[in-house]
């Protein structure tokens, strides 16, 4: 049996029928409403000596909704207010204004019952350096009546290789996995992950991302913060872009990408083939093609499926076998930069951008 079953308790949902995992235990009957709802959040910190003893507003207007079975990402630069926002949602900080509803309750007055349904992975891990991972995880498991098996979790996250090593000796990625395991012991319905990929080596990153998708598929509401566009693009079902304490844009990754028409007009295709080919057959009004260096061609403009068909036909006719073909469209980074710069239009797409490019040969 696959380790997936560790979390999985969702039968395939049929339309109009409440899936079993939602109605589970009679306790989660309200889960069709959002797992987390934040509205008009305001948070002041201070008084700060640097501001002559005045307060600093680190969050001025953040609203977001996170649903079960979805990964919701808060995307923003460092200092944008992401951590403050989720710490208010976790009940670790008291808000100055606005409202927060976590599983239908106010997290500022979270009791043990609410805390047991919510898992938290802090940005700095929150692990005692002198402890051994296995001892710590067993201790945290002891705070729940019926926790997940520590052994199964330790194996699933590959912690068994270093479960008896003091936490202070672990690498950043190893610590991150221990913190993730600790947040999962209660089999939480809502999971907060503050910068989950920070310090992860590529292998741990794949492991952690797979796990996050599994948890999502098991119906959990996952709220994560990240300053990495790649994380948001790869993991998130819904993204809130946070800038200077405000949520400035929201949508699925696709919606955010399509939010600017400039992006659609600025698709680009690069291909490599023999030098000095006659590419006039590829062109139509609005499309341009240039040979940027011998044998490397860039076709820019509002590319459509028909253009690809013509490209294929041209290859056949002209007997061209490209050594590579890349299609690139606007990445989330362009949306992000456009929004956080306050620019009205999105910067043109670089044809050589690697992220969000599709390799077709």
């Amino acid at each position: 049996m696959s380790p997936r079953d560790l979390w999985h308790r969702r039968d395939v949902a049929e339309p109009g029928k409440i899936p079993k995992w939602l109605a589970y235990n009679g306790r989660v009957t309200k889960t069709l409403s959002p797992a987390l709802e934040i509205s008009g959040l305001i948070k002041d910190v201070g008084p700060l000596p640097a501001l002559d003893g005045r307060m600093k507003r680190v969050v001025s207007n953040i609203s977001l909704t996170a649903h079960f079975g979805q990964v919701t990402a808060l995307l923003g630069a460092n200092g944008a207010g992401k951590t403050t926002t989720i710490e208010c949602a976790q009940g670790l900080q008291n808000r100055t204004g606005g409202s927060i509803s976590l599983l239908g309750q106010d997290p500022e007055h979270a009791d043990a019952a609410l805390r047991s349904r919510v898992g938290v992975m802090l940005q700095d891990g929150g692990l005692p350096p002198a402890a051994r991972p296995i001892a710590l995880l067993r201790h945290v498991a002891g705070l729940y009546q019926n926790p997940l098996s520590v052994d199964a979790l330790v194996e699933r996250l590959g912690i068994n290789e270093f479960s008896d090593t003091n936490i202070r000796r672990l690498s950043g990625g190893q610590k991150q996995r221990v913190a993730l395991a600790a947040s999962l012991l209660g089999n939480p319905e809502v999971l907060f992950l503050d910068e989950p990929s920070a310090g992860l080596d590529p292998q741990s990153r794949i492991m952690v991302f797979e796990l996050i998708r599994e948890l999502r598929d098991a119906g959990k509401a996952i709220i994560l913060t990240t300053h990495l566009l790649d994380d948001a693009q790869r993991l998130a079902d819904y993204v809130y872009i946070v800038d200077k304490g405000e949520s400035v844009a929201a949508g699925t990754v696709q919606e955010l990408l399509e939010s600017s028409t400039a992006a659609m007009e600025q698709r680009a295709m690069t291909f490599e083939a023999t030098p000095s080919l006659d590419v006039s057959a590829l062109l139509r009004p609005g499309l341009e093609c240039s040979e940027t260096r011998p044998g490397s061609y860039v076709l820019t403009g509002p590319l459509e499926p028909a253009d690809l068909a013509r490209f294929g036909a041209w290859c056949e006719r002209a007997h061209v076998m490209p050594t590579s073909v890349h299609l690139a469209s606007k990445s989330l980074e362009d949306v992000f930069l456009a929004i956080s710069d306050g620019a009205a239009t999105v910067a043109p797409v670089s044809a050589h951008r690697n992220s969000h490019s599709t390799v077709i040969s």
Binding site: L6, L122, D124, Y144, N146, P147, S149, G186, N187
Partner: protein, 256 residues
């Protein structure tokens, strides 16, 4: 193995008692596995006891050396564990985010503090058994009434010093907590009236020292274990320190 978790229900919090006892056990074992803490909690008080009994420092005070030394050394144990040991551990837990993480688990902030109190009391109980046994071999025979009076007073002392330690750990950087609580330990132990009656050195010093929590606890323990007497004035002073520190800690303790 995974069938165990198929359809696993979301976990419920363990009962409040179990959460707090688990946390107390965990913190106590962390404390007892820490070498520096053990030196502070066991080796230093033992050395102090042996030194006071082996040297003529406490002669001419009307009682045997061990009768005067043992109550003060027990008070020193409370200072070591509740103030210095607990203060430093909490300060660094705060730095590493352990306090914040644990407060998001079913344990919560209240459970975290209750667990610390239990850990301090458990460690103190071990210290008391050890020191009392060694002192008994040195001829210490405290009156029964004094012992019954001394135990709750020592617990009160531990509570007051825990509150003071938490106040420091929750308001300054852990390095500063380390410095303040270690320096405090040395000053309280040397001239704070906890191990030796301050009157031993000078009456001018005694006038100030009796107002300190260390002097108050030292006087309370000696009055109880030597004369089976409750030093009411010392009790008031110690209570005042404990309550004031607890209120201040609740108000100013920063979790991050």
């Amino acid at each position: 193995m995974s069938t165990l978790f198929h359809n696993a229900p979301p976990a419920h919090a363990a009962s409040l008692t179990r959460r707090i006892l688990n946390q107390g056990k965990y913190e106590a074992s962390t404390m007892l596995r820490n070498g520096e803490q053990l030196v502070l909690m066991v080796v230093m008080p033992l050395l102090g006891l042996i030194a006071l009994v082996a040297t003529p420092l406490l002669d001419d005070m009307g009682h045997s050396r061990v009768a005067i030394a043992a109550p003060g050394i027990l008070a020193l144990c409370a200072l070591s564990t509740a103030f210095t040991g607990q203060g430093i551990a909490t300060g660094f837990d705060r730095r590493y985010g352990v306090l914040r993480f644990m407060s998001t688990t079913p344990l919560g902030k209240g459970g975290l503090i209750a667990g610390k109190v239990i850990a301090v009391l458990a460690a103190l109980a071990l210290q008391v058994v050890l020191i009392s046994t060694v002192a008994a071999f040195m001829g210490w025979r405290p009156p029964l009434a004094g012992v019954l009076l001394g135990i709750p007073l020592l617990i009160l002392g531990a509570a007051a010093f825990t509150a003071i330690g938490l106040l420091i750990a929750g308001t300054v950087r852990p390095e500063a907590t380390l410095a303040i609580t270690n320096l405090g330990w040395i000053l309280f132990a040397a001239v704070g009236g906890i191990v030796l009656p301050a009157g031993k050195f000078s009456s001018a010093l005694e006038a100030y020292v009796q107002w300190l929590p260390s002097g108050a606890l030292g006087n309370l323990m000696r009055a109880a274990l030597i004369e089976s007497r409750l030093d009411v004035w010392g009790l008031i002073i110690l209570l005042a320190w404990g309550v004031a520190a607890a209120i201040a800690a609740v108000k100013w303790f920063k979790w991050n």
